[in-house]
Amino acid sequence: MASLTQFGNRLYTGESSFPFIPRRRTWFLVALGIVAICILGPILRGGFEFGIEFRGGSEFRVTGVEQVDEQVAADAVTSVLGAQQVPNVAQIGQDGLRVQTEQLSDSDTVEIRDALASALGVESNEITSSFVGPSWGQDITRQALTGLIVFIVLVAIVMALYFRTWKMSVAALSSLAFDLIVTAGIYGIVGFEVTPAAVIGFLTILGYSLYDTVVVFDKVREQTAPGTSGTYADNINLAVNQTLVRSINTSVIAILPTASILFIGSFLLGAGTLRDISLALLIGTLVGTWSTLFVAAPVYAQLRMGEDIAEARAKRPSERGAVV
């Protein structure tokens, strides 16, 4: 691993560098291609699969069960609907079970009722079925979206103030948009059910992605501060390369726990909260690291095309002393 340190040394001096900025047209094309796939993919597949927490579904109430076993009830449901439809099963009171599935046709309802009755050893008439509304209703979605929009507006302002240029805000937000589109797109293409846990994972990515971009941009700000020599394109490229070892280390460290949760979550336990949240996070971390390097920095360089650092210094001489 010492080689990564050596690699870091060469990146730091600019002795070797990865062409993030010089080849930015290529990276833009790659990014646009990925975005196109991630928008078209889910559409071709027929949209996202929302869980019953979002859409509501059917609910069965079984009472008078002598031996309450959630697994038996879950197996009875999957025997009718197939293994992809994992129901929510919960014990209610002493001898009751609540089974929630996605919304069912009348014939499926009857079949599941019979399957549950024979599996749990109760009469069919001890099972009631009804329709349940979404627990993650429109109001939660609306409030979450409002929060998101308020946050993005605030973050754009805060970054513009901190970095003293709106161009960095625009670049950071474009990479955020890339992350969100790609993560959602992969979710839609793979066809995993969108559950509240996945949405929480999605929001975590939002934080991670911006965090990652700010760390790299802080280095860019330093390397392009008034008073430094060179052009924007060269200095941005140097800054990104200088933080490359950090970017690699950070994403490895963020990915290790996520991957281990995803591995254990999906191979040992099957579908469930663990798989949903860790998948969203794993994709998001990878995409977030990628987009900082290949979207945010090149976009910023593009916005700075035709400007040079010396001019910026001439325009804002007062800032010279303030920069460390």
Binding site: Q6, R10, T13, V132, D139, R246, A254, I261
Partner: protein
């Protein structure tokens, strides 16, 4: 040097103090049912499922809008009592199912189902409640001579006009049984007509004029200790109301009219769900739209009422159809798997950082352990203080958050290495690296914290729980990196092992390709005897600035 050492010591003392404070808070919370482990959310621990069914008159239907609105109001009320991540759904197009972790006490139950319709009506007359014998006697008298309304009677001029009290109304007042208020079938009373009702405790009877100010005119409500005009607490709890502009105007008009009237018509009846909770006399014209209600509230009832008024009244009344325990939907096995997976992940993180940072990884591991410990203490304390509950998603989020906390250390270490590469001596490289790294860490944490605050304030339900977790871990990140990681590194660089840049220290200037500039404090790169590095000796003897310059001229060519 001595000053630096004192500063290092102070930072570590602060850390110990913070840890001790949270440990003490936890210890203190045991008396109030807290403990040393965090409480778990609905999915992991189960709780209570309450099914609320609407109270409908014959032939009345619940519309979807009413149900949605009711769900939203109930969710707001539940959220207002903490961040417990309750689950609220509808069932069969008319019931509302509320699942709450743990036991549900009476106060919470009341919070859920009371429709909280508040009205302000002027008092027309007041008397003591009637005994059943008096009611029987008055009824007999009325049957003998039935009340007859005068068709030529003048229309009431305003809400305080005694002309509202017609013989029929007087008759029903004379036979009014306060027990009627307890009947859930009583339903809503018309707003534009006078109301015969009782005080909440059933001791006084009132005839009130039509509604002058409605609960929907309240823009905000809060609960707190009532104070005297000098600001000393009276020991009584009050609900403070703030009216919107329509409410303020109406309030001003009413107080303006009734203040000069004789008792009891100078009183103002505050009616909640049909019963008078208090009927204070108005002694001044209220123009600022602020009012406060005292009336034998406890702290819980005051804050519960304030929440109900703030989030609005339910469009329909609900009653509890059933209340049952509900078991965890995710078994113990899921939580265990999550924790085991997280531990394996963290172990991998440790292995990786040892490879990358050698002895420095010890600082990472200790910092992570401290961050983990602090997080645990804070979460456990918030469990009892804020009713914070950990769901499986929350546990996963925390494990991953602790992983990203490691990024602050990486940013810091890489900055120190950059300074070493520039040829600084180790102690000054640590200080200079810290100055730059802390600025970066502060900026990026500020963004995360902003996300946490905005989502916490705006969002509801699970998202709110997530925001809470994010906020906590962000602050802990800052605390640990500033009060532990940095002071630790300062201490370590004073040891020979680190200050001499031992190859295993992770801060070896030679491995980092540092430039020997004569006055630097580390050994000559050649003396380190690393074959691979000595071949580049000539190049390294260039200053970093020279190398950057030559690199950029090469690129330009």
């Amino acid at each position: 040097m001595a000053r630096a050492r004192a500063r290092t010591g102070r930072a570590l003392i602060w850390l110990v103090v913070i840890g001790a404070v949270f440990a003490a808070l936890n210890w203190a919370s045991i008396a109030n049912g807290g403990g040393w482990s965090p409480r778990l959310a609905l999915d992991l621990e189960g709780g209570t499922q309450v099914i609320l069914t609407p109270q409908l008159q014959e032939g009345q239907q619940v519309t979807d809008e009413q149900l949605d609105q009711a769900v939203q109001i109930i969710r707001d009320r539940v959220d207002a009592s903490g961040v417990s991540e309750s689950e609220i759904t509808t069932q069969g197009g008319q019931n509302i199912v509320v699942a709450i972790p743990g036991e549900v006490d009476d106060a919470t139950m009341d919070r859920l189902q009371s429709s909280a319709r508040m009205e302000f009506r002027p008092v027309l007359t007041v008397a003591a409640a009637l005994t059943p014998e008096e009611i029987a006697a008055n009824q007999a008298a009325q049957e003998a001579t039935p009340p007859v309304d005068d068709p030529a009677a003048p229309e009431p001029a305003d809400a305080s006009d005694l002309a509202w009290i017609t013989p029929t109304l007087q008759a029903s007042y004379d036979t009014f049984d306060c027990a009627v208020l307890q009947d859930p079938e009583r339903g809503e009373q018309p707003l534009d007509e006078p109301l015969v009702t009782c005080s909440e405790d059933g001791t006084a009877r009132y005839i009130l004029g039509p509604v002058e100010v409605e609960g929907s005119d309240i823009s905000d409500a809060s609960a707190g200790q009532a104070t005297t005009s000098t600001g000393a607490p009276t020991g009584e709890f009050e609900v403070r109301l703030q009216f919107d502009s329509a409410g303020s105007d109406a309030f001003e008009e009413v107080t303006n009219r009734i203040t000069s009237l004789e008792s009891p018509r100078n009183q103002f009846g505050v009616v909640l769900d049909g019963a008078v909770i208090i009927a204070p006399a108005s002694n001044a014209v209220i123009t600022n739209g602020e009012a406060s209600i005292t009336g034998g509230f406890s702290q819980e009832t005051a804050s519960s009422l304030a929440d109900q008024l703030k989030f609005g009244s339910l469009p329909i009344g609900f009653e509890v159809q059933s209340e049952e325990t509900i078991a965890a939907t995710l078994g113990e096995s899921q939580l265990q798997a999550g924790i085991i997976a997280g531990l394996i992940g963290l172990l991998l993180v440790i292995v990786y950082s040892v490879f990358q940072y050698r002895a420095l990884a010890l600082v990472t591991i200790a910092s992570l352990a401290i961050a983990g410990g602090l997080t645990y203490l804070v979460i456990t304390w918030l469990s009892s203080a804020e009713d914070y509950r950990l769901s499986l998603a929350g546990v996963t989020g925390l494990i991953i958050a602790i992983g990203t906390i490691a990024d602050s250390f990486i940013v810091y270490f890489e900055r120190v290495r950059d300074e070493l590469r520039d040829g600084r001596a180790i102690t000054s490289a640590v200080e200079a690296g810290w100055k730059r790294a802390f600025r970066t860490i502060l900026a990026s944490d500020a963004i995360n914290f902003l996300a946490a605050i905005v989502l916490y304030l705006v969002a509801v339900g699970n998202v709110r729980g997530f925001a809470f977790t994010l906020g906590i871990t962000t602050i802990i990140d800052l605390i640990v990196v500033a009060l532990f990681t940095h002071p630790m590194l300062q201490l370590l660089t004073r040891t020979r092992f680190f200050s001499s840049g031992h190859p295993m220290s992770g801060l070896d200037p030679n491995a980092l390709g540092a430039v020997y500039r004569g006055r630097a404090k580390f050994r000559d790169p050649v003396a380190a005897g690393r074959g691979a590095t000595s071949s580049r000796e000539a190049q390294r003897r260039q200053s970093i600035a020279e190398r950057k310059a030559s690199a950029s001229t090469e690129q330009e060519r």
